[in-house]
Amino acid sequence: MAANQEKPPRRANHAARQPAKTPPAGGGGGVPPSRAGPAQERRARGLGHPGPGGFGPPGRLAFTPEHREELQRLWGEMVLIRRFEERVAEMYTRARIGGYTHLNIGEEATVVGALTTLRPDDYIFSNYRDHGHALVRGIAPRAIMAELFGKETGVVHGRGGSMHIFDRERRFMGGYAIVGGPLALACGAGTAIRYRDEDLVVMCIFGEGSTNIGYFHESLNLAKLWRLPIVFLCVNNQYAMGAPVQADSSVPEIWRKPCAHDMPGERVDGMDLLAVCEAVTRAVRLAREQHEPSLVEALTYRYRGHSMADPARYRPQEEVNVWLARDPIVTFRQQLEQAGLMRPEEADAIERNAQALVDEAAQFAEASPAPEPTDLDRWVYA
């Protein structure tokens, strides 16, 4: 930490970064530059302000009074994702949303726990299950909903839809429809960071099915070889569409796969927000401070089918029930209440707030204009 502060800032945006008020021993990443956009939006959403530089060293975040606000905020993020996705499902069945739609329902603890460790200037490459990732990144719910509706007010003017949410300003480098597609692109971003000698991190999010794609192998090889600051986050929801992980992966423990590239890998309980947060924080630090890529496998479950077009009849109900009993939103709330960190009325207020945001988003999307046919070829080329 001290060494960091003594270094002259390399770039303008680094100069904007303030030293941490109370730097924790061992360092926990710097303080992000003051980027008003996402922060203002978070305040507007009533979800508090993101903690500077992620959550400090491992283990800092715990069910203790000093983290009360932060923990409530994180629970609120999970609730917002759940409510948002439920509304998306409804709007899809009402034919307000076309194409394909993949929901984050069930994976909220992984999504929130992982993304919350990043600085606003870090890069995120997501996959087609990207609504929750975009929400946690601070993209307005209304802009995402409008995008799903294919409206001009959508985050990419209705051209991308569910699988292609993109926000350059927030360094949300896209959802991608191609399985494994973002893996190689993340290496490109990592190369750029090394080339410019920045202290940024790339988070690359993909499912366990992607790890059988050649891209996975090629990307991990390059990332390790060139020491790219990438956190490979494998969201292992245990089904590649209808294929269970043991049917399509010779090594079902995804965290073991990076051994082919001499890269560290680790598995974490993806239904436990704090556990995800802790593991990813370490991975982020490894990337930022030592340019060491690593893989974190979050073992989780999607409560719905692969997409809205999948009734998920290939899973035994008993298995689904086991995971439903571990619903991260319910368990995290219980943990908070038991620790005396959230009163029922506080929880209700957060719920109401999330509901209101989603209602507003849906109304906004509904009322927004469709793209003009004359604009057909806009946004196609830079």
Partner: protein, 346 residues
Amino acid sequence: MGSMTEPAAVKTRRTPRPLDVDLGGAELRAICETMVLSRALDERMWLLNRQGRAHFTISCQGHEAAQVGTAAALRRGEDITLPYYRDLGVVLWMGMTPREVMLSFFARADDPNSGGRQMPNHWGHAGLRIISGSSPVGTQIPHAAGVALAAKIRHEPTVTAVYFGEGTTSEGDFHEGLNFAAIHRLPVIFVCENNGYAISVPRHKQMATATVAERAAAYGMPGIAVDGTDVLAVYRVMRRAVDRARSGQGPTLIDTRVHRFTPHSSDDDDRVYRPPEEVESARQQDPVEKFRRTLVQHDLLTTAQDHELRERVAAIVEDAVVFAEQSPLPAAADLTRHVFAESGRR
């Protein structure tokens, strides 16, 4: 000093360690002959290329022990091979004749590999169950998994061996092929001829692990590194892998460490990326000479036999070159043949 132990030491040197392989003298001599023949044919191809009589060649020199040692553990005519461009030793052992090799080299009409359509060293021979490959590296690996899957579905005892260099192991095709083979426990052996250079890129600049063998762990299959200049060591490792595959225990990755004595191909100049001393010191480990010495040491190859072998090989090479060069080129009217399968032909 140490004179008391001296005689014993000399004695152990005189009585070499037993060879520890299930091969008789005739088979060992056949392996040696194939290695010598591979080298001689290869050297001749370079000469012909430098004389301007042939367009292109890519070499097996330095790889002979890895190639013939692995192929010798396979069943000729039953097991399937998917060689890569360096595998002259493999295809000769599996039954391709030197004349056929030279027909391919000169792109003649009677070339069984492709009727003179493919580049030289793109091996393929339906009768010998050698499956033709593409020029992009690594495409044969998923093919091999598919071929092995077919054998498994049909309950055939066939084993598939697929060959590639260490550069290919950084390709996505490698990852997908090994993953699939391991999931379905397919009877396939992945043989890497690891010569330390992907064309001009040294190993440490294109892969993050020190060996190819350790990559096998990511697929839950055994990965075995072996000295690829020692043909019997290679044979023993391959033998175990073949037995494993044939008895339904699944695939194996074999990492044979070899030296490439030549530039990548006849269109490459390796002096710009590696010092000549490196090649010189590698030649001290010449696999062909090493095996010849071993056989002589074990009285399995007499001086007369050695002499006869060399003369025979020289004559075979001469015959193959003359035969192939005099063979007709493909007829222009046949241009579109061998592009699609023809009915009634296999």
